[in-house]
Symmetry: C2
Subunit: 242 residues, 2 copies
């Protein structure tokens, strides 16, 4: 038995997210079907984590056990021959039997991209924000979220988790051309966490709240105090760290 680690890229536009669903098109579903086609096996594919409908990934990581005699390089080529163009296997390698793409991941990096104008090109990959944004204030506000905090206010209500503590290692805005991008690295992410953080920091950028108010929102531990959940299409899983 080989334990195969896959690094994959996908354009989330036409996927109902990562996780296998009985009737919707998902990345895990396409992958499971393609693996069955080349190995004849029903595999249990473990992803580093789910991504929601419309969210993209530059380097998602997954693993699965297989009895195939194909080498990792052949598996990569065969899968790319079968998979639709919006999922691409970037790398396939044999890893230790006990490697688990989900539980061994120590941190993840996401980017959220905002366009400052209503651009026709690439609009699947950013959210157009019509308001003038004060980026220095948004950077200042972001600093309150750095470190170990209870992010319950920044988690979609009704999420089934034991606790809301995340350790945010990096969180900052970068400006490039007509884009404003949030880069965030954390040990874990709660449901819609990045999209709610962006929706809240936007309030700071528009001058509706002061940066210090972010601390108050954290303290409340109540989703109602944070901003709206911004659209999925601006979000991209950049890297999973092991």
């Amino acid at each position: 038995v080989q334990n195969i680690k896959l690094t994959l890229e996908y354009d989330g536009t036409h996927f109902c997210g990562w996780q296998l669903q009985p009737s919707d098109r998902t990345v895990q579903g396409e992958l499971k079907q393609a693996i069955k086609q080349i190995t004849g096996e029903e595999t249990n594919i473990i992803g580093s984590g789910r991504t929601d409908s419309g969210v993209h990934a530059k380097e998602q990581v997954a693993n699965f056990l297989t009895n195939t005699r194909l080498e990792p390089k052949q598996i990569k080529t065969a899968l790319n021959g079968i998979l639709p163009k919006d999922v691409r296997i970037l790398a396939a390698e044999t890893v230790a039997d006990n490697f688990n793409a989900r539980f061994d991941a120590i941190k993840r990096e996401y980017h959220y991209t905002i366009s400052t104008y209503d651009s026709a090109i690439g609009r699947q990959y950013f959210w157009y924000c019509r308001y003038n944004l004060d980026v220095p204030k948004m950077r200042q506000a972001a600093q309150y979220l750095l470190g170990l905090h209870d992010f319950k206010s920044f988690c979609q209500s009704g999420s089934d988790v034991n606790h809301y503590i995340c350790s945010v290692e990096y969180l900052d805005w970068q400006e490039k051309d007509h884009f404003i991008m949030l880069k965030i690295i954390s040990n874990r992410f709660l449901h819609n966490m990045v999209r709610i953080i962006v929706g809240t920091l936007i309030h700071v950028g528009r001058g509706k709240i002061e940066p210090i108010y972010i601390q108050k929102i954290l303290d409340k531990k109540d989703r109602a105090y944070a901003g709206q959940t911004v659209p999925a299409k601006g979000l991209c899983l950049i890297k999973v760290y092991y």
Copy 2:
């Protein structure tokens, strides 16, 4: 009567090019329909030039005459409210009565983008080239096309033009991340000219022909000597100069 100059951006993926066609979705067709909706007029829209099916534009320019009393800024807002998301009006302004978007253009700039890996994200905007390319050799080869030349070898056969002379002011390759991009500025472009130039320079990059051979292809004035026409999706009209 006002003469309105429009600067517009479009994602060519789902358009059968710029030019109005009776049954296909085109940029000019969408624009004509939207203008009719806000002014009630059947307008003759003059574009700086056609773009083919699948080709994108960051700053296409067009003009039309109208009796509307709406101001340019209102026209822009109204059109963006009606037009589909893959065409956006970036600017609308009143210009001199004799301004003609096609005949007054003195040069155009196009970019052609190649990806060096089979990326899932943004694949509407580049062509993936599977071969290793020697970019310094491709840059050397590009220099033979600079200046005033007869580009008949780089024009799709059967094109209905009086002559094939173009004055290429700038032509070079740029590398950035995993992209290799051709930037070209010329007073005019023949049908498929950029896509045939790229297809030919690729031969140099793959080591199939030497850079000097580009001079021979020019001299032949025969399409058969140049390379293949690379896919439309990597091509983007960047700017029209007046």
